[in-house]
Symmetry: C2
Amino acid sequence: SRLVNYTNISQGAKEHEEAESLHGMGFHGRAASPNMGTLMGVYLPCLQNIFGVILFLRLTWIVGTAGVVQSFLIVLMCCSCTMLTAISMSAIATNGVVPAGGAYFMISRSLGPEFGGAVGLCFYLGTTFAAAMYILGAIEILLKYLVPQAAIFQATDIHVVNGAMLNNMRVYGSLCLGLMAVVVFVGVKYVNRFASLFLACVIVSIVSIYAGAAKSIFHPPEFPICMLGNRTLAWDLFDVCAKTVVTENQTLPSKLRMKFCSSENASSSHCDEYFVQNNVTEIQGIPGLASGIIREYVGDYLEKGQILEKAHLKSVDVHGSMESFGLYVSADMATSFTLLVGIFFPSATGIMAGSNRSGDLKDAQRSIPVGTILAILTTSLVYFSSVVLFGACIEGVVLRDKFGDAVRQNLVVGTLSWPSPWVIVIGSFFSTVGAGLQSLTGAPRLLQAIAKDNIIPFLRVFGHGKANGEPTWALLLTALIAELGILIASLDMVAPILSMFFLMCYLFVNLACAVQTLLRTPNWRPRFKYYHWALSFLGMSMCLALMFISSWYYAIVAMGIAGMIYKYIEYQGAEKEWGDGIRGLSLSAARYSLLRLEAGPPHTKNWRPQVLVLLKLDEDLHVKYPRMLSFASQLKAGKGLTIVGSVIQGNFLDSYGEAQASEQAIKNMMEIERVKGFCQVVVAAKVREGIAHLIQSCGLGGMKHNTVVMGWPYGWRQSEDPRAWKTFINTVRCTTAAHLALMVPKNVSFYPGNHERFADGHIDVWWIVHDGGMLMLLPFLLKQHKVWRKCKMRIFTVAQMDDNSIQMKKDLATFLYQLRLEAEVEMTVVTLMMEQRSQMLRQMRLSTTERNREAQLVKDRHSLVRMESLYSDEEEETLDIVPEKIQMTWTKDKLDAERRTRNNAPENFRELISIKPDQSNVRRMHTAVKLNEVIVNRSHDARLVLLNMPGPPRNPEGDENYMEFLEVLTEGLERVLLVRGGGREVITIYS
Amino acid sequence: SRLVNYTNISQGAKEHEEAESLHGMGFHGRAASPNMGTLMGVYLPCLQNIFGVILFLRLTWIVGTAGVVQSFLIVLMCCSCTMLTAISMSAIATNGVVPAGGAYFMISRSLGPEFGGAVGLCFYLGTTFAAAMYILGAIEILLKYLVPQAAIFQATDIHVVNGAMLNNMRVYGSLCLGLMAVVVFVGVKYVNRFASLFLACVIVSIVSIYAGAAKSIFHPPEFPICMLGNRTLAWDLFDVCAKTVVTENQTLPSKLRMKFCSSENASSSHCDEYFVQNNVTEIQGIPGLASGIIREYVGDYLEKGQILEKAHLKSVDVHGSMESFGLYVSADMATSFTLLVGIFFPSATGIMAGSNRSGDLKDAQRSIPVGTILAILTTSLVYFSSVVLFGACIEGVVLRDKFGDAVRQNLVVGTLSWPSPWVIVIGSFFSTVGAGLQSLTGAPRLLQAIAKDNIIPFLRVFGHGKANGEPTWALLLTALIAELGILIASLDMVAPILSMFFLMCYLFVNLACAVQTLLRTPNWRPRFKYYHWALSFLGMSMCLALMFISSWYYAIVAMGIAGMIYKYIEYQGAEKEWGDGIRGLSLSAARYSLLRLEAGPPHTKNWRPQVLVLLKLDEDLHVKYPRMLSFASQLKAGKGLTIVGSVIQGNFLDSYGEAQASEQAIKNMMEIERVKGFCQVVVAAKVREGIAHLIQSCGLGGMKHNTVVMGWPYGWRQSEDPRAWKTFINTVRCTTAAHLALMVPKNVSFYPGNHERFADGHIDVWWIVHDGGMLMLLPFLLKQHKVWRKCKMRIFTVAQMDDNSIQMKKDLATFLYQLRLEAEVEMTVVTLMMEQRSQMLRQMRLSTTERNREAQLVKDRHSLVRMESLYSDEEEETLDIVPEKIQMTWTKDKLDAERRTRNNAPENFRELISIKPDQSNVRRMHTAVKLNEVIVNRSHDARLVLLNMPGPPRNPEGDENYMEFLEVLTEGLERVLLVRGGGREVITIYS
């Protein structure tokens, strides 16, 4: 009596819908109070959803083909897969208030919209194909067992019997689908009202099987089968299973004989040879439980068209004529273990039915796990026992006979049932029709729910419904997709398809559970305690394995579809208020990568610029020089790290809002300039302090900047306030102290935007001091970007009058070749007064005895180091510029050797250079003017000039001179990039 | 003549070794000057390494089995795979100075030691099994074609003929391996000297095939085969291919007849029935190029034991007797397309031979790509043409006859060759022996090189060698592993094994190239320009596909082995100065994850504490309270973000070293306390400024802290200097301004270490103000850690005298149930004087009409909000504490409804509370004393007491009172954790 209340809109979209409208309309009470118990609310719906058409139409055939043991294995695999999924699902469903409605809501709310959408659509497609499968099953029952005479297409030839049947299925299936769609469209109410009837049909059918099996111990049902030799005959076109019949004491050829012989006379010359040489026997089709046939029965995978044979029956193996082939029962398709797995799996799906109705449950957190798991146990038990009973009661050839041709076209499982085969035929027909209707009701609602979530824009139209909320368009789409399934026409072909989609969905349920457990999200606190990530992982692996076992190409297609939906949703950038569990994964990934990066400083060959761009903001919090960002984005060509930092003068307690606003402004500008990176605005009492802090503390773990990009303090000469250039020099000092490289683009407003393209021209490097290779690497990096791609690189180096400039040029060219950089090398001779030069040179050449192939290159660098003295006024500065450590690629010895060579040089310098500060200043200015002259002369038409930036004076009194020196050095050049190395090698000839 | 200089130590360990010793001993000149050209240095070695035993022993059989078209496909797949790999390899090899020596050095230097080690060992195993394969091939030639009479084991029964052969192979193979090992051990020099001889053998053999094919146009060689019906007879035990022979005009039964008949008399009754019913015919085995048999020939995959049949020959299909089975030529194993791929692939390996000797090349960067690619083109061409020639010249049954039984046990390819089959038999024997010797020379050297790199500790012993540098132990291990291959005894079984290892290695070469290209490492600048990441990716996919095609279980085993080696090296923590390309991957991953995380603030359900721990250092730069770190590690149970920050007072320009030192000290302490996270030390002029900066700028992108953990300023009352507690209060203010949560563990020294375990006890939460759930979540998080696991959570809440405390308790219990937290709920009634209380309560109850199921919970929180007034002296403070935004899970409407409810409350407060500051102070102290009394009373034995931390006064004058208030509140409690929410919800009832 309680069953009358039982309804079943599967996939629970209904509840969700109700919940939606409830909340939307302001909480005025629920339509139905949540008062369902475990039995009515979870157990029975699950049971009905799990049992399906496969049990009635295919399980006997599976047992016959695979044998009892392997069938057991198939059932075990499928059921343990769903059981593990149910455990994961229980954990998810009991983790707080569950959004009503199935896998889609569970996954989308716990793993985020991307996974949710992919899984939801998989589930939708699975349900839709399930509808097609149920309809095909119903039509198969109708045409094969209920009213075979209704078939429109009749086989004209024995070879096309299969094709005719398929066409019948297509026609009737389409009609049936149309009818069902109309029913669903007109009255979902009625569908729900009949739910309990459909459930009753299933239960009655199953009970009748058990009853039949029990009865078969004492009175096996009478289903004889007719064998010719060891071959099974299709018992439909003859009446008596004998070669001759005795009528009125006269021996006449039987109908059977007439089928096999072309003439009616007694001689066997016109008969099929196999018919002649073998005897006709009649054996019992259902020997019954007591017969013990289970002991002798093993499965037999048949090829398409292979005739069903009973192994131990005596036969003479002669080729018969082809014409008589149609008289035997033969396999309609090739079978294999993996194929059977795919066909059976739909019998194990449907486990979500309970969790879909969480809204209606009194105590969802208890009912869902208990009900679902009990339902799976029940159904598994039924399957296992059915496998054994079928194997124990029914003769092998009958089992393998998919359409019951050998038993006068009875449903095979029907032959076993009690009191009559019709119980099962009619029961299974109605339950199948019911399941089809329910799938057809559930699928559009699920689609509507997904569409309403608006994560997949092109589905939006399916979110609308009729006035009564009926999803008209969604129903139409569902019917169209189901029609595709029906056009396939074969139950055995459709079943693996829906298996795929359901497995995909279960896979993600398991994944969601495993991921959340492993990530230890604080919010992951399921009431259901008997889960474990290993179980979920096992479940996930089983789903994956089953997918690939049952059909690897379907599996790949299904995964491809899911992947495409995922990417599409990601691309559409669904911003949902649900939050996603994947965030934890990103967090873990980021943390892991950062910790991994932190392990040590990168090897020279992995060096890449990680840039901290110091931006100035104007009073309205706008970026003052947006070209700084363009330059940064051109420099790194989209890869590596960029942090954009800025300082706001003020008190943090008051300026939080201002800081947020500027951060937003910078982020907007970064988006415009296509800089992918991070933004960091700090509030500090003094700007220079803020910058010092940014330089110290930007970045995290291994993701720290190694290069600072800073603007030039334009108009420092005019400014009354010395703070502007004091801040500049202080920043230069800070970068030096922090061992960072520094780049100062001068006249940054003239720098090209990201959309300009230089069609020709040069990037000129004035390589005066060896700075670890920064100057060499930068043009290469810039040339990766479209703006600079067509520019050519030139390297200028400065020689003294008596240097062997030809040899120097050759050495440098070799060095560049080994660096795999394409550049012209140019030598410029500058005459400078310098007293110790010759002495120094001599000293340098002493150390050349220790050279070797690699050291040759070092020499080149050392010959350049000589120029450094021009650039710094104190010997320590020189030391700063010489790279501290050059990492070699393969042996320590080489490194040591090189170090030895290098360490000599600075000592020499220390002895040699002892210039007084004032002297130095004068000479430095002189140098700057001379150099500037040469640079302007040679590089006036260059697109960009790269210059070494000398270190600031140690003594703050020299600051103004220093600024002046830089101005003089760069005068008359359009775009200059001053570069100061960070004291470590950034480029290497080694791979 | 130039060929005399040709040597070939494959896998180039030799060069590497030389380079090693050279650099190690101080650069005194090279043993051989690098002067080899493309031909001698790359092309010929590659050619010799690629051509191999499979060409001579198996290619005919492959063509026979798979047919010309499919064989073409097999060759195409293998060759295009190696061609793509060669392109990737060329790019890697021309990216700067190449470390001499093969895949191992290329991969380990570009992808890092983990990948390098895994690939190196794969390559080593591949080479070792190649040695085994060559030896098996040599023995097969020896025993089958050269001296068949040398076989020790003779088949006693026709069914064990295969077994006997395998045993012969095992015995002779082991002997041969021993001999070769001795040769290698004694004199590598001689092996090298004969390299040109071996190469000549290969070339002569191949030329003889072409010559033979050309000759076959006019004079096909005479190799008749004898057919019985359509079955091929093994022509070894009879002489004449006829049923009878006519000798001296007498017709006698032939030897053949005697084989098939048990008696010699003429009647056929004792003869094999198949023999009786079919005719004996003799057909031409090598019809020659002009015969056009290529048109009619398709392959035929045979089952094991299937007799080779010629399709169009007339035959009567009768079962013959089993005894005569051995007289036919039958397949010795089952074949399939995929199997043949695995067997053929070793013919395409060997492409690394050129790059191995980069040290000897005049211009490695040009020679390697050109030579390698030309060699692959040449060999591919030979393979393709051979496939066609074999198919065009040789009869199908002969092709399918693996051991040439049908052609009197001649080598099948030998039958085609000109001038004599012996050319190929002897040529292939020597070339195979040579290849075996070379593999046996190369493999130990490679192992030695890997061992010397010392990335795999247990291999260390193999790094040592004899006095002359010969790797004795490595040779021994190699011989042992090769012996394993020989015990397998079948060429067809060993070939797929080595295919796996080589494919694995090629896969990684392609991967290395693709990864470096995609990551745009600045150092990735190959001179060889014709690479593309898509090609490398395709190559990688092909390698993977070939692995799984040829044998999916071997593939899994090989990948398992490689994975294990990878993990082992990673576990051993190889610190190499090479740097790894994977670093770029980590960087990209980190950047991607961080950018992804940045997208928006996390949803409540993804909230997890991301902690910034502010540490104090003492004068010696030691961590003052290490228990702060223990607490942090217990809190997050290993997941989430932890940043440990500290401030050093000083000037950054001077204190860089000090900052580094303290960072190291903190990192050490973090390691001890097992805190996985990051460390950030800043130098600032004032500590409070430094802290403010840390709070502002720690973290990166989405990985920012949301919670600050700070110590209590112990002894602030005693201290003369008010800065200590001023800094404390300032930090509290900063966290509030930055909307961060704050935790202050008081008496942190009493907190448990990570190794203590509380066996019982309680964590008590005094839930006075609703703080977004922090207080609820923290005990749950702590309980995840072993230290606190056994503690129970109790929640105390404070009610007024006339509150309905029973209802409140019940509501709270429901709330906790829905939060899925297990806790006891306790109510405490505190009597407080408060004039507006009753009025307020009335106001509160008015708003209850708007409630619903969800709002019920909100009510509970509001009933708690009443207490807030006790906690703050200004109404704005109250507002700060009320969570700004509660994110609901599924609809906006609900959110709005809740907001509506909430927004009413503060207004009420604003009207109601109008207490004067001084009044407030007195009352606050009173409250504190009262509360403290209750707390100490109830929680004196708790393991930890969690308390809301009130906000600091807005007016700095009240600072001292505030500190006093906190002291009073927490007096007499052992471990207190003061908690202040960050103004946003951190826990939710929704899943």
